[in-house]
């Protein structure tokens, strides 16, 4: 038993299959970010069926999605960034072409093999926490502080020096590692 919700685990395998299609075509796989990444790192029931991804090649990613049966939801234009699988109830949205605006160290991205479909990439937990803190610092998502602290509680063995730097970058110097520790 993996501990993941069955629907979420199936979605990860589909993501791996789509990623493998891109890689077979010679393109770098997309990177999972956002709430689905939080669910993966914490096995918490928070994802809502949509996977946010970052990819430098949105066109190729969308081509791969189409090959795997995904369609654009009705009412969206041909340049829309969201795709849904009508049978699986799984959606994808491309939220950017660089990881956290290019500030994250892509060398820290985790690769996870979901066989037999293939391997998918997910943002490093340090950057995920920094992203949550950045959203919290914006003042519009107070719940993100608790998400960041909950993740930090699980990953206190992460690269804390890097995490601190990234939190400061994402929050324009307002917050740092100490703001996680004070809540744990």
């Amino acid at each position: 038993m993996s501990g993941l919700r069955p629907a979420f685990e199936q979605a990860l395998h589909v993501f791996a299959a789509v990623s493998a299609t891109m890689e077979r075509s010679g393109f770098t796989a997309p990177i999972l970010v956002g709430g689905a990444a939080v669910e993966l790192y914490a096995q918490s029931d928070i994802a809502t069926g949509d996977f946010d991804v970052v990819t430098t090649r949105q066109d190729r990613f969308e081509q791969a999605l189409a090959e795997h049966g995904f369609i654009r939801p009705s009412g969206t234009g041909r340049f829309a960034s969201e795709w849904v699988h009508p049978d699986l109830g799984l959606g994808f949205q491309v939220v950017g072409d660089s990881l956290l605006d290019g500030n994250a160290d892509v060398g820290r991205v985790r690769l996870i093999a979901a066989e037999p479909e293939g391997t998918f990439a997910v943002i490093a937990v340090e950057d995920l926490i920094a992203d949550r803190m950045g959203q919290y610092a914006s003042g519009t998502a107070p719940e993100m502080l608790e998400q960041a602290r909950a993740l930090f509680t699980l990953y206190q063995d992460a690269d804390l020096h890097y995490m601190d730097r990234r939190i400061r970058e994402e929050t324009f110097g307002t917050y740092g590692l100490a703001d996680l520790q004070s809540g744990s």
Partner: protein, 60 residues
């Protein structure tokens, strides 16, 4: 930008090993209380996507 994703991490971890590691972490922490996203900042595109997912009848 191409260089940013040209050399990701070294060796992949299996999903099974990854999730077992997370399970150990959660157990060690005595569980986790992860708040869900409030959902108050959803873009129109995100709202469209979630509506389309809901239309499939899949329960998340």
């Amino acid at each position: 930008m191409a260089s940013q994703t040209s050399s990701p991490a070294p060796e992949p971890t299996t999903l099974e090993a990854f999730t077992q590691d997370v399970q150990r972490r959660v157990a060690r922490a005595g569980g986790n209380a992860m708040p869900r996203n409030a959902g108050t900042r959803r873009t129109p595109a995100k709202q469209r996507l979630l509506a389309a997912i809901a239309e499939t009848g899949t329960r998340w």
